[in-house]
C-alpha cells in the first residue's frame, strides 16, 4: 500500500463567512503500481485532495498515511515521495524544456540523474523540435508536456498528475498515456486528476468520482459502471439539427453533446434501436451511429448532474 487516506475533511472559509466543503470524509487507498483516477467537475475538490496528500494543506479531520507514515506529522517527507504536475501551467520563463526537466531531475536524484531517461521521454512524446526553445515561446501543449516530464523525469513512489492532457494534441495524448502506463511498470503509483472522463477510462485501474467534496462512487471501471443500471448506450451523429430527430420512446434518457445525441437504452430494446438507427441513416437524418456498453462518462454524468448535497447520502449508500 502506497497511500491510505482515512476520513479526510477540509472546509475553507471564504469572504462573508461563506464556507466551502472541499473534502467531506474522504477515504481511499492506493496500491503499488496502480493508476487511480480522480474524476470530478471544476471545483469538486480534486486539487485540494491532492494538496492534502502532498502535505501542502492540512485536513481539518482524518489522517493520511504515505508509505506507512503520517503526512500530517511529516509533511516535508511527502514532497520527497511524491512528484507533481500542477493543474495550472508552469510558467517556464526563459527555461527550455531540456533545462527545466534536467534541473528538476537533478533536484530529485542529484548526481544519480540519468540524462538518457530525459532523451527517452522527449522522444516518446515527440518533443524533439522544442527541447531547446525558451518556455515563454512554447505553445500551451508543449509547456504542458514539459511540466509532465518535470514530474516524471525522476518519478517519486507516487506521481500526481493534475489534468496532464489539457492543451495536448490527440496524437501526443496517446504517447502520454503510454508513458504514464510505463511508469507503473517500475512500481510507481499514479493519481490522475482529471475531468476528461472518456480518456481516463482507458488508463485507470481504479477510479473515484468526486462531487462537492464527497466520493459518489469508487472502484474499478467495471464496478463503477455497475453502480448505475445495466444500460447500453446509443450514440448518433446528426446530419442536420439534432433536435429534429427527436427522442425515440424506447430511450431511457437522452442527452446532447454538440452534434451528437446519446441515448441510454435497456438491453432488451437493442434490436429496436439498431433498426431505428439504420432507417434514420438510410433516410439521411444521421451520419453514423454506434452501440456500446455504458461508459464511465455516462455514469459520471448520471451521478453528478443535478445532484445537490442532500441526494448524496442514498447514492453513496447504494454503491
Amino acid at each position: 500500500m502506497i497511500l491510505d487516506v482515512r476520513g479526510v475533511s477540509k472546509t475553507f472559509s471564504g469572504p462573508n463567512k461563506t464556507k466551502t466543503v472541499a473534502s467531506d470524509n474522504l477515504s481511499f487507498q492506493i496500491r503499488v503500481g496502480e493508476i487511480f483516477g480522480l474524476l470530478g467537475h471544476n471545483g469538486a475538490g480534486k486539487t485540494t485532495l491532492a494538496n492534502q496528500i502532498l502535505g501542502l494543506v492540512t485536513p481539518d479531520q482524518g489522517d493520511i498515511d504515505l508509505l506507512g507514515k503520517s503526512v500530517l506529522q511529516f509533511p516535508a517527507r511527502s514532497r520527497d515521495i511524491c512528484s507533481v504536475q500542477p493543474q495550472s501551467q508552469v510558467p517556464l520563463g526563459f527555461l527550455t524544456p531540456a533545462q527545466a526537466v534536467m534541473l528538476m531531475g537533478k533536484m530529485r536524484a542529484g548526481k544519480a540523474f540519468d540524462p538518457k531517461r530525459m532523451e527517452m521521454l522527449f522522444e516518446a512524446l515527440d518533443m524533439g523540435k522544442w527541447v531547446n526553445t525558451e518556455g515563454m515561446k512554447l505553445s500551451g501543449g508543449a509547456r504542458r508536456l514539459t511540466a509532465f516530464c518535470m514530474a516524471v523525469i525522476v518519478p517519486g513512489k507516487l506521481v500526481i498528475l493534475d489534468e496532464p492532457t489539457n492543451d495536448v494534441d490527440p496524437v501526443r495524448r496517446r504517447y502520454l498515456w503510454d508513458v504514464i502506463r510505463g511508469l507503473t511498470k517500475d512500481g510507481t503509483s499514479v493519481i490522475l486528476v482529471t475531468h476528461n472522463v472518456q480518456e481516463a477510462e482507458k488508463a485507470v485501474d481504479r477510479v473515484a468520482i468526486l462531487h462537492q467534496g464527497r466520493f459518489l462512487v469508487q472502484g474499478t471501471p467495471a464496478e463503477v459502471k455497475q453502480s448505475v443500471e445495466n444500460l447500453m448506450r446509443v450514440e448518433i451523429s446528426a446530419a442536420g439539427d439534432p433536435e429534429a430527430i427527436g427522442v425515440p420512446s424506447w430511450a431511457v434518457d437522452s442527452r446532447r453533446s454538440g452534434d451528437r445525441l446519446l441515448f441510454s437504452i435497456d438491453q432488451s430494446v437493442v434490436p429496436l434501436a439498431v433498426n431505428w438507427a439504420r432507417e434514420q441513416a438510410e433516410a439521411g437524418a444521421i451520419i453514423d451511429y454506434s452501440l456500446s456498453p455504458t461508459t464511465i462518462e455516462d455514469v459520471y454524468v448520471k451521478l453528478t448532474s443535478g445532484k445537490e448535497l442532500n441526494g448524496h447520502a442514498e447514492l453513496a449508500g447504494a454503491v
Binding site: 514532497r79 520527497d80 507533481v84 495550472s88 510558467p91 526563459f94 534541473l103 530529485r108
Partner: protein, 244 residues
C-alpha cells in the same frame, strides 16, 4: 532528499535560467538608475559642492538595494503568486528556506553591477571623496539582506495588489522623503522620528560609513535596527512559506 548544498545548487540554477532575461534587464535598469541619481540629482542643486555630491554618490547604492528588495522583488513575487509558480515551488522536494536562500543570492548578485559601475563613474566625474573601508562587504550584505528580507516579508504577507501599492509608496518615499541622498536635518521633525524606526536611514548611514569612512560614521544603533528588520522580514516570509 538531496544534501542542502545540492538542493541550493539546483534551485539556484533553475531560478537563474528561468529568469535570466529579466535579471539582465533589471541589472541594466539599476545601472541607469544609479548613474541617474549621482548625475541627475546634482541638477537639483544650484551649486553642487563636493559634500553634496558625496551624499548622492554614497546614497545611490542604498537606493539600488532598496529598489531591488522592496520594489522589484515584491513585483516578481506578486507575479509568481498569481501565475501559480509559487504554488509549484511549494511542491518541490527541497527545504523551503533553500528556495529563499537561492533567490536571495540571485537578487543580491543583480545589484552588484549597478553599485560598482555608478560608483566608478561618480569617482571619475566628481571625485567626491570616496574612502572605502573593508566594512563595505558586510555593510552591503547587511543592507541587501534587510531590504530583500523585508521585501519578502511584506510581499508574502500581503495580497499582490497591496504589496504593489506599498512598493510604489516605498520607491517614492525612499527617493524623496528619506535621508539617503541628503542629510537627515532637512526633514521635518516627525519624519526624522519616523526614520529612526524605519530601516532606510540606518541603511543609508551604514553604507555611507563604509564608502566614505573618513567623512561619515555609523553608530551601533543602526546595525541593531537593521538586524531587527532583517529578522522580521525573513521571519514573516518563513512563516508564510511553512503555513499550510
Amino acid at each position: 532528499m538531496q544534501s542542502l548544498l545540492g538542493q541550493y545548487k539546483y534551485v539556484f540554477q533553475l531560478q537563474f535560467f528561468r529568469n535570466s532575461g529579466f535579471y539582465m534587464f533589471f541589472a541594466l535598469i539599476q545601472i541607469l538608475i544609479a548613474i541617474g541619481i549621482v548625475i541627475g540629482f546634482t541638477y537639483l542643486m544650484p551649486e553642487p559642492d563636493t559634500s553634496g555630491v558625496l551624499f548622492l554618490a554614497t546614497g545611490a547604492p542604498t537606493i539600488i538595494l532598496i529598489i531591488t528588495g522592496l520594489v522589484i522583488l515584491p513585483q516578481q513575487i506578486g507575479t509568481s503568486k498569481s501565475d501559480g509558480y509559487m504554488e509549484f515551488m511549494r511542491t518541490w522536494p527541497v527545504k523551503r528556506y533553500v528556495i529563499l536562500g537561492a533567490d536571495t543570492s540571485l537578487w543580491l548578485i543583480i545589484t552588484i553591477p549597478g553599485i560598482v559601475i555608478s560608483s566608478v563613474i561618480a569617482h571619475l566625474v566628481y571625485s567626491p571623496g570616496y574612502d572605502i573601508s573593508w566594512t563595505v562587504i558586510p555593510a552591503l550584505l547587511m543592507i541587501a539582506l534587510t531590504s530583500i528580507g523585508v521585501g519578502y516579508g511584506f510581499s508574502y504577507l500581503l495580497s499582490p495588489t497591496a504589496s504593489l501599492g506599498l512598493s510604489q509608496v516605498i520607491v517614492f518615499g525612499a527617493l524623496m522623503f528619506s535621508p539617503v541622498n541628503f542629510p537627515m536635518e532637512r526633514l521635518p521633525e516627525w519624519l526624522q522620528t519616523l526614520h529612526t524606526v524605519l530601516p532606510i536611514y540606518s541603511m543609508a548611514e551604514i553604507m555611507r560609513a563604509s564608502l566614505a569612512a573618513s567623512t561619515f560614521s555609523a553608530g551601533i544603533g543602526h546595525y541593531i535596527n537593521l538586524t531587527i528588520w532583517c529578522v522580521l522580514g525573513y521571519g514573516g516570509a518563513a512563516y508564510i512559506l511553512s503555513k499550510k
